[in-house]
Point group: C2
Chain length 403, copies 2
């Protein structure tokens, strides 16, 4: 930020006049707020060189990357706070940048979580046009740092990045993590056995149609981010009209539900630490729910030559809190729960009868056997009855096959 003008200009100041040096100053100021920012152990190297050097205490590291594009994965016009237009609360004053930064960090931290890891680093590759408001970029950096801080990734640093220019804004965030000596929990069932890795026993693939004895357990909510997207996609005047009508009809909590849902879309809260807890309690396979529960449970199942069944009672019960909002917007709350993505819960497979890890709920099971044996992750769309594909658009959304 070159002097106070960039802060107080209220969106009029753009990055074009700053050059890379000025933009870097803005980003680095925000990233310095991360608790671990100042703490670079002997032998490691922080941002500012050609590359960073990050500690990997157990001789391995978890790594993942995600790209986000303007108007596809985020929108410049998204509100910083709730759908009533207030800019109070976290992110006020940063316009949509804060939420975009938060979400970019959250979805990558979630991937580390999904392997059972603890986040250690974030990298930001950012392209943007010279006309990008400085306020938006400042918000982006604050949101990225905010997610690290508020989601509790307290050993995670921003370790590097790259700036480039383009006609539109794209971000690619890379996250790294530590496993602290634990085996990673993969999508394919661990052969370490029912008691968890290293405790003996072996996975018995279920016979055709037989009881598989494999429960699907979830930590985190489902459907709220999808509901939030529908709230955010409704024109403001229409939204206020519909919310008012719902309140007059007796749905007194619908305005608060709408606010919570849009917050779930704008600033998702992956349950960091849940992946580690599931791993420690003997989860055999695991992933995060980013593209919708049906699609992702289908992927988890297909990777093991099985099918996923969601528990229809659970879907109904999970949908209950969203029903008034769904009525208000002419949507289906059970669709939100079963096919809606971006809540970033942790979906794990546990042997039936071995208990549910703290913070998790049983949401379904794995059954049967697909013809042709286990499928790789790239062969999953045929088995996925709902959710989102970036290139073909929405996949067929259907009610869960009840279990």
């Amino acid at each position: 930020m070159t002097g106070g003008a960039a802060v107080t200009g209220g969106g009029a100041v753009t990055v074009g006049g700053l050059g890379e040096a000025g933009i870097l100053r803005i980003l680095n100021r925000r990233f310095a707020a991360v608790p671990a920012a100042g703490d670079w152990p002997e032998g490691t190297v922080g941002p500012g060189d050609d590359a960073a050097v990050v500690a990997a205490p157990d001789g391995r590291f978890v790594i993942t990357t995600d790209a986000m594009a303007q108007d596809r994965d985020f929108r410049m016009a998204w509100p910083a706070a709730d759908p009533r237009g207030s800019s109070a609360g976290a992110g006020g004053g940063f316009a949509g940048g804060y939420s975009t930064g938060w979400k970019a960090a959250a979805q990558n931290l979630s991937d580390v979580n999904a392997m059972g890891g603890d986040p250690s680093g974030l990298l930001l590759a950012l392209t943007m046009p010279p006309t990008t408001p400085v306020e938006w970029i400042d918000g982006l950096a604050a949101g990225l740092a905010g997610a690290v801080i508020h989601l509790g990734a307290d050993r995670c640093r921003v370790v590097g990045g790259d700036l480039g220019s383009d006609d539109r804004i794209t971000l690619a965030v890379t996250a790294t993590g530590d496993l602290a000596g634990r085996p990673a929990v993969r999508r394919t069932l661990s052969t370490g056995g029912f008691g968890g890795p290293g405790r003996g026993g072996s996975v018995r693939p279920p016979a055709d149609g037989g009881d598989p004895g494999l429960d699907l357990v979830l930590c985190g909510r489902a459907g709220w981010a999808a509901a939030g997207l529908d709230v955010l996609d409704t024109r403001r005047e229409e939204l206020l009209c519909r919310l008012g009508a719902a309140e007059r009809a007796g749905d007194s909590g619908v305005r608060r539900t709408a606010a919570l849902a849009s917050s779930a879309q704008l600033r998702p809260r992956p349950p960091l630490g849940a992946g580690r807890r599931a791993a420690e309690s003997g989860a055999l396979a695991m992933m995060d729910v980013s593209d919708g529960l049906l699609k992702d449970a289908g992927r988890l199942a297909a990777a093991n030559g099985l099918r996923a069944e969601l528990d229809a009672d659970w879907v109904r019960s999970e949908a209950r809190a969203l029903e008034p909002l769904a009525r208000t917007l002419d949507r289906d709350a059970e669709d939100w729960v079963s096919a809606g993505g971006e809540d970033y819960g942790i979906l794990a497979v546990k042997p039936a009868g071995t208990g549910v890890p703290a913070g998790f709920r049983r949401v379904g099971r794995l059954v049967g056997r697909l013809p042709g044996g286990p499928a790789g992750p790239e062969q999953d769309t045929a088995q996925a009855p709902g959710g989102w594909d970036h290139f073909t658009g929405p996949l067929r959304s259907s009610r869960p096959q009840s279990g």
Copy 2:
């Protein structure tokens, strides 16, 4: 590639019909050609899960990321091979995708090289429109794998990635590396001493105007990628006309120089291993030359409170091979050498009189002391007399201050 149609369709087949699963199949087939692709040690996890788990044998890893945007950092219409329009040679049949993939890999492998590391992994975050030709994406993946193979990064795997849709293509590549127990060589002068890290002694900052005793040494060429960009930016008819005239005037090698220069731009060859060699021979500071020798040498100097002087004789001698091409295109070969970026050589600082590492040449020295002491990397543009800034455009290009 879903059947032979996508291969033989000659650009008519687009990614829109494939879905993420089909695109992943294309990418993974190419990445499987990397020598280390099948070799995942115990405890590590390859692509296909939420995140990969990569070995870091000495308990640390090097990490860097770079973003590339269509029409800024690469062009869809770029030829696969040389400026005569032949599609023979590496990359033939892949259109511009091959060069784009190669370059994205090369510039990230170069950043690992610049810390003294050996590349261990690449991640690809890719956004593209559904109208992107399958051939182009197949070429992108082949080029990425091709760079890993032909640049000799023989322990580097493609460890993961992400796909998203956007109106234009952007790539963000992340690279990781091993230091095998060596200290990283940074832009700031090592305090480990003249004899190299751990060999005692200390760096003596030069007195004002005094002899600094710090040589700048370079491995790799300078100016060829910039010359290549000018070749590629010249209309084909005009280029052929100018090359013909130059040949008739006696510059018999100019056509070959143009081909080599455009190849240097399209498929740069960072000297992998040079960073490690410089580190082992006692380099005190190091970086790669991505934005131009004057700008990057200025950065290296400014990070230590010093100024960089390029050796005018060296610049003249390095420019000699490019002179006929420069005459042909009405450009200045010494400008290419001193201000042109993207050759990805390794620029290192050695104590004067301690010898030049194998494959390096002395190109200048560090002198004097800037007011205010060492500057961070974000404060460097004021000191950098040439090169490129993504947001303000070309910086002032001037002749090197002769040393």
